[in-house]
Assembly symmetry: C2
Homo-oligomer: 199 residues x 2
């Protein structure tokens, strides 16, 4: 017999489709929302509903934005001689939070991963090459993730960009700040040794 | 400067208000939804939006339902001589899943908790007493949680129901099935000893 009202069951199902949210969390959230103030629940519904409607992809850097070109590409104060290539929009946020980078970005929307069937043609790599051809820059910083997919993607892009003559750099690898040599994994420690800098 | 589009920021904020969802999970979910098929995202928005609109509280048992009386209260095959008192609608689901209980329910919507400022008058206790006065039953099973709040609530209700003459019982406490005596906490083990049954 049906003991869960259909609207409750439906929201549990929809939440359960999200990554990291299992059936238990989905029902806890649903019952929490049932008891929440109506305007909070409606605000959530609207925020979800409007998310994709009001978001566009910047035609220059392919970051998500409210308008194209995005706020960064359209900002006259940014250094146009630098492009930082990242996998995801979240990476742009992380780098912006450092307040140390003032160049432009290029968002690939993923990394090359044969395991997940993602090839170079699924990423915005051709668009990057095209962009650099029309607007040459001094340096391209490859800031893909320090893992197998990110490394392969960086290597692939490096080869694509070689003929264009721009300087191509890669984010440094090494010990994370606040970390502990004792607990560092071998790969990180090897990279930290290789990349050691003169004091 | 504003690097997160406002609709993205807004959804992150709204998700972050949910219990157990911190800022990191909220942004991960938001960026996941950004990349999801439009109809899945709209289905989620609708499910959230319609949740409270289409849910009512059953006027008899106070469980959440699509109509009042609810499917259980309106079911002629349920045993009307039994009422099981639970804290939350989710408890009804848990008991229904056993397929062993065929009586009615009464949902308190909480437990007495002086710490959280929840008194007996905030729960559906007066309504339970009223209900039993109009429709006397043979047995009331108190299925509040086996913790301080649940125990106090059960004790409080027990005293309220005493003058009405119905048999009042409490769910058994003891070792959980699949558990291990070695790892049982002392309170559970004490309850298991006290409640030992003849083989």
């Amino acid at each position: 017999m049906q003991t869960v009202p259909r609207p409750v069951e439906r929201l549990i199902e929809e939440l359960n489709r999200l990554p990291g949210i299992g059936p238990k969390t989905a029902s806890r959230l649903t019952f929490y929302l049932l008891r929440s103030p109506r305007d909070q629940v409606q605000a959530l519904a609207e925020a979800v509903g409007e998310l994709q409607e009001k978001i566009v992809t910047c035609s220059e850097c392919f970051n998500i934005a409210e308008a194209s070109p995005c706020a960064i590409c359209g900002d006259a104060h940014r250094d146009r001689s630098l492009i930082c290539v990242v996998e995801e929009p979240l990476d742009v946020l992380a780098i912006e939070r450092t307040r140390e980078y003032h160049g432009l970005y290029h968002v690939l929307h993923g990394a090359i991963s044969p395991m997940e069937g993602v090839g170079p043609e699924d990423l915005r790599i051709a668009e990057l090459v095209q962009r650099l051809r029309h607007h040459p820059v001094e340096e391209v910083i490859l800031a893909t993730n320090p893992n197998l997919e990110g490394e392969s993607t960086a290597m692939f892009i490096f080869r694509q960009l070689a003929p264009l003559g721009a300087r191509v750099s890669r984010l440094a690898h090494g010990l994370p700040m606040g970390g502990d040599v004792e607990y560092a994994d071998e790969v990180t420690l090897t990279r930290a040794l290789e990349g050691r800098t003169k004091m």
